[in-house]
Structure formats: C-alpha cells, structure tokens
C-alpha cells in the first residue's frame, strides 16, 4: 500500500447526510471482476445532474471530499472505496462514518478523517464561497487545513500507523503464523467444518419461467 503522510487537493463540498454505498456506487457496477476502473461508477445516479458538485468545473478535479454525517452506510462493498480512489479522491472528511466503510478505506489507503460537524460546516462555507479552494490533510498532525481554518480530525492510532508506513495487513498477520497454528490446535472438534460436505439428499430444481414478455430480458 502507498504511504500517506500529507495530501493537498481541491476540496469538494458534498452537503448530504447518510450517503450510502448504493449512492457511492450502484450495485449494477459491482459485476466487474477487476479492482480498478470504477471511476465512471462513482456517484453514478447523481453524475447525470448538471448541478451535482462534481459536474462543476471548479470541483471536477477534487481529491478531498467533505461530506455530511454517516458517510458510507449500508453495504460492505469495497467497490465504494475503489470508486472514490479511482476518481482521484485521497481523503474523505465527515463527522461520522459507517464502520465497514471506514475499515475498507484504511485497507486501501483512502483516509477517512472524522471531523466535528461544526468544523465541516466551516469548511463547506469556504469551499462553496471559493470553489476550487484546496484542502490540506496532514495525517501526522491529524489536522485539515483550508484557507485560514485549521481543524483537528480523528483517526484511530493503528490505522494512522499503517497508512503512514504503507503496511499491508496480510503481511503483518502472516508474521504470527505460528500463533494461528497453535490456536487451531485448541479448536473444539465438534465445531463445524464445511468439508467434508454434508447434504440433505439431492433434489432436482425446476426453473421458474417468465410470465411477462419483458421478464426474460437482461
């Protein structure tokens, strides 16, 4: 993972609360089997609206998203983080994040910085009054800076350390392989395993058929 220490880029004010992951990337885009190329899917339903913030020239090249509370609620799709990153975002500022989204961000080097709602309002006012203003996010100092305003943000120590060092979780865990094997020896024998597979007797499944002409499409 790429190291994250400090980032400066155009701030994008997204004055919406409860931006769920279906808004960040609708399910129809989740059929891809690659990890990149999701930039076209970001906020897909809103991108058709000429008034949407990312359709305005001043914000189009934004890389710091400043959103309302409860950003990233809903589904666990990491595609939401990939879409934000593929578009060019490096940090999201909000007063509250959904837990899974926050976790996914940390794994992918997208900084989810928790900022008090009053401070979000301050930054929104600056970004809306002076479109194109840059925001600097300093992970070492845990501050976000925009014109003459500097506000603190929260991020947990472990995520911060991993982002600063650019460390990969799997590699870190693999260092404890012996402890994992030791734990496995203590696992009760009656605890279930998926293999060998046990089933009820096999039965033939009959397919339902379309009753309307347009049902068969797609």
């Amino acid at each position: 993972m790429e190291k994250f220490t400090q980032h400066t880029g155009v701030g994008v004010p997204l004055r919406r609360s409860n931006v769920d992951t279906d808004q960040i990337i609708p399910a129809v885009y989740l059929k891809r089997v690659t990890r990149t190329g999701f930039e076209d899917a970001l906020f897909a339903a809103w991108r058709g609206d000429p008034h949407f913030v990312l359709n305005q020239d001043a914000y189009r090249a934004g890389s710091v998203l400043v959103a309302g509370p409860d950003f990233g609620t809903g589904s666990s799709r990491e595609h939401a983080v990939w879409a934000l990153k593929d578009y060019g975002f490096r940090a999201v500022l909000a007063s509250r994040f959904a837990d899974i989204f926050r976790g996914n961000s940390g794994k992918q080097g997208l900084l989810a910085a928790q900022v008090a709602q009053d401070d979000i309002e301050l930054i929104w006012k600056i970004l809306e009054s002076y479109p194109g203003t840059e925001v600097t996010v300093d992970l070492e100092a845990r501050t976000a800076h925009c014109q003459d305003v500097t506000v603190p943000f929260q991020v947990d120590d472990y995520t911060r350390w991993r982002l600063l060092e650019g460390l990969d979780d799997i590699g870190l865990t693999m260092q404890h392989d012996a402890e994992i094997s030791e734990f496995e020896q203590t696992r009760a024998t009656w605890r279930p395993t998926t293999l060998p597979a046990k089933h009820l007797p096999p039965v033939e499944i009959v397919s339902a058929r379309p009753v309307h002409a347009d049902d068969a499409l797609g």
Binding site: R16, S17, N18, D20, D22, Q23, A27, V28, L30, K31, R32, V33, T34, R35, A45, P69, D70, T73, G74, S75, R77, E78, R96, D99, I100, G103, N104, K107, D156, D157, Y158, D169, I170, T173, M174, H176, E179, I180, F183, E184, R187, A188, T189, W190, R191, P192, T193, T194, A197, K198, L200, P202, V203, I205, S207, A208, P210, V211, D215, G218
Partner: protein
C-alpha cells in the same frame, strides 16, 4: 465483573492480544463467500502466490447476480455470467465447496449457512456482505467485511479487529397480533437512527425476543447493520438448539451434548455491563413502514408522511425534503393512502419458509389487486422446495403472484428483477436507498404481513385492513376476525 455474550465469543477467538492500540487478532470459524465481493480477493491471493489457509472453514454460493427465471439457461447478462463463472473457477482452483445455481443448497448466503447447520452458537462468522449480522441470531459473532478483509481471511483465517462496544436492546412484553419481528427492528432503527449502532455489537434481549422463532430472530439480527452496528446477537436457547438439531452439519451424539453444554454458557452474565442500553415495549409496536430513503426514516403505518418544515434539525430536514422529492410523496398524506406498483416478498431479511407461510395464509382464497405486480422469491432452493411440498406455490400462483427461483433478486436489483424509474414497491427487504431496487425505483420497507395485505389492497395496508372474512367458496379466510 461478568462478560456480555459478545465479549465471551470475542475472548474465545483471540489468537493474539493487540498491544499499544493495535487490534486483537481474531480467529474466524466460518467464512461465507459469494460472487460479488470475492473475485478481487482471489486475484490478490493468486498475485501473492498464497493458498486459502482453511478451505474446510469456507463455503461459497451464488446469490447476488443469479437470475430467478430460466436458471437452466445460460445467464443472459454477460457481466453477471462472467462474475459467476469467475467464482466457480476460483472455488475449483482453491478447493472451496460451492453451491451453484441449480444445486439444491444454492441460495442467499445467509440462508445457506443456517439451513446446513454450519451457523452455530459461539462461532465467529464473516462474509463480504453487510447482512452477515443475520447469523448473530444463533449467538454467533457475525459481521460483514470488505474485499481486502475477505482476502485476509482466505489467506490467514483471522482478522485484526479493534474491540466493539456493546449495546443491549431490550424488547419487553408481547407483540400485538399483526406485528412481526420486522416491525421490531424497523422501530429500533427509527429510534436509534442509521448511525446509532456505529461501533457497537447489539444484543437483543427481553421477553418479546425470547418468544420469537429462529427465523424471526434472523430478521432482527439481519438489519442490525441498518442501525449502523457491525453485528447483532441473541443468546442461544432451546429455540436455537431445536432449530439446529439434525441439520447436516450440526454435531451428533456425544458431540451434540458437549456442544449444547458449551452453548448454554453463551449468555450475558448478570453482573456484566453494557456500554449503552435501549428499551422498547413490544405492546406499542404497530406495523411499521419506511417513507424515506434510509431505513431510519420509518413510521407506524397508521401515521402520516412527515412534514419537513416541522423538523428542527437542519440536516434531517434537508434529508427529509430530498427523500420526499425522490419518493414522490406529499407531506402530511396518510401512509395508508400510498399506492404501490410492485410487492416484493423475499431477501435474506424475509425470504424464509415462515415468511412465505405467513404470506400464503393471507393470499389463500384471495386475488391480488389488479394494479400490483407481486414477486415471491424464496431465500434458497431448499426453501423453494419446502414451500412447494406444502403447496404454497399454488396459493401464490392462484393469487396472481410470480413464484421465482432463489436469490437476492429485487432486494438490490443486480439481476433483471428491478423496479422501473418512478415505480413504487412495498418490499420485505432491508434497504430503501435511492435506486437500490432499480434506478429511480421507490422502496417502502415492510413486514411480510404488510406486504401481503398491500398486495391485496393496492395501497400500504396491514392485516387489520383486510375486511373480508370469507373466500368465494364460503371457507373462512385469514384473519378470521379482525
């Protein structure tokens, strides 16, 4: 000091305690895999040359993308077809058990685990799907993860996790007739909000929870994520053991006795302390329905659509205005006057056999409202077989509903089962986000009973609104009296 249920399960899975703010490393007992959130994880393993550490603690099925019609034909959408084929290839390459479309054990991943008896009390269960919280109904610690974590579990069978806080949600008393566990969870979400559970594991307790069947408990735990919580749990009891006994992967003989003895220890100790507590009275819970575009925007069906101008909080008022505009609703209008185009009965929330039975009881002897399209989608192929063995399929067809094959279907519209722009649905699923069930589609989340009554009347309705008591042949209809 005693421990909560969540703490007991957590502590039993710690491989390594984190120090200096580092997370604990937790062992994972069961990893459920589906086609949408796994391809990039398997690709990561391949690139790093890593095997799956425990294929025998991993199981895959196809659910999100699968069609519910013509399942014996090639999947029409090429990207869906590729994604499903990718899962099949990955399962073969890494030695993982898979239940594919057309297999009797195929279905929504959160139905497959319980019905095979793989979901058991005291386990840690993960899946790249936020509704993994469903399995908490058995007293398992079960939560959704992202694709990076899927890869992590495949490679190491563990996850680094910072401890959760605990919240007790006590539901006292008895549910009124016509109200269900779906109404309990919708009321809880409306009360604590979509962010109220952030950072918490919820434990549902109290007389009303104890009285619920396993399937009804799954409905509640399923939607814990809609309150922002990572997981929801219910302590196992006789209801849990009865459900598990005899299932393919349940312990047998002496192992069963040993397991039950351990499972009985999985409850919150008397002197344990929760970080937060919420109490609800079941007797107050009317059938609930959402009016907006997040699951916290819900009200009793007897209420009216909110008037945004009366909402004090700026963010909530703006959110309500936007939601009503999207939903095409007039502030102040009675919810019972809202007309729907589609009724969807299914999903990991409410697509199980008890849900289908409760719907069929109301459908029997009646026909659907002429303006409504009714889709009944069982949560798994086994549930479909069971429903057919009980003759429920004929009741659905006689009513005018469509009886489909198993999968996630219209809950998230990744397959062809979608709402058209502007179409309105009463849906037994779990999310009413903008565009969730199809671009421009409008979703009202409801219980199976409200969905069934709505399919009969054409407007959002409860069982109490069904006035007719006799079928054309003179036989009594459900409910016999209202």
């Amino acid at each position: 000091m005693g421990k909560t249920l969540a703490e007991k399960v957590w502590d039993a899975h710690v491989v390594r305690r984190g120090t200096d703010g580092a997370p604990d490393l937790l062992y994972i007992d069961l990893h459920l895999v589906h086609e949408v959130t796994s391809p990039q994880a398997f690709e990561g393993l391949r690139l790093a040359g890593r095997p799956v550490r425990r294929p025998d603690l991993t199981i895959a099925t196809e659910d999100h993308n699968t069609p519910t019609l013509d399942i014996d034909l090639p999947i029409a959408d090429p990207t869906s077809r590729t994604q499903i084929q990718t899962l099949r290839n990955n399962a073969a390459e890494f030695g993982i058990r898979i239940h594919s479309l057309g297999d009797a054990d195929q279905g929504i991943v959160h139905q497959v685990g319980p019905q095979l008896g793989l979901t058991q009390p005291g386990l840690t269960v993960v899946c790249g799907d936020s509704h993994t919280s469903t399995h908490g109904a058995f007293g398992a610690l079960a939560f959704g993860i992202g694709t990076s974590e899927v890869e992590h579990v495949l490679a190491t069978q563990t996850l680094p996790l910072a401890p959760f806080k605990t919240m007790a949600i006590t539901v006292d008393g008895e549910l009124p007739k016509g109200s269900t566990s779906k109404d309990i969870i919708l009321a809880i979400i409306a009360k604590i909000g979509t962010g109220g559970g952030q950072g918490y594991v919820l434990e549902y307790r109290g007389e009303a929870i104890r009285a619920l069947s396993m399937e009804a408990r799954m409905t509640i735990c399923n939607m814990s994520i809609e309150a922002g919580a990572r997981a929801g749990m219910i302590a196992p009891d006789e209801t849990t053991f009865d459900y598990l006994k005899g299932r393919p992967h349940a312990p047998e003989g002496a192992a069963w006795d040993e397991a039950v003895e351990y499972w009985r220890s999985l409850h919150t100790d008397e002197d344990a302390v929760f970080d937060a507590e919420v109490v609800l009275e079941a007797a107050d819970l009317e059938p609930f329905v959402t009016w907006g575009t997040n699951p916290g925007q819900g009200l009793p069906l007897s209420g009216n659509v909110p008037v945004p101008a009366e909402i004090g909080d700026d963010n909530e008022r703006i959110a309500a205005e936007r939601a009503l505009e999207y939903m095409g609703l007039t502030p102040g209008m009675p919810l019972r006057e809202v007309k729907v185009d589609t009724v969807f009965i299914g999903s990991c929330t409410n697509g199980r056999i008890e849900d289908l039975r409760s719907v069929a009881k109301l459908f029997r002897g009646r026909t659907k409202h002429p303006d409504v399209r009714v889709l009944v989608v069982p949560s798994s192929a086994r549930v479909r077989l069971q429903a057919e063995a009980e003759g429920l399929d004929q009741i659905f067809l006689d009513f005018g509903a469509e009886w489909r094959n198993a999968g996630c279907s219209m809950c998230l519209g990744m397959n062809p089962d979608q709402l058209k722009p502007g179409e309105r649905a009463a849906s037994t699923s779990n999310r009413n986000f903008e565009g969730r069930q199809g671009k421009g589609g409008r979703t009202h989340l409801v219980s199976p009973l409200v969905a069934a009554a709505t399919a009969i009347r054409g407007t959002l309705s409860s069982v109490a609104d069904l006035g007719d008591v006799e079928a054309p042949d003179g036989s009594p209809l459900e409910p016999a009296t209202v």
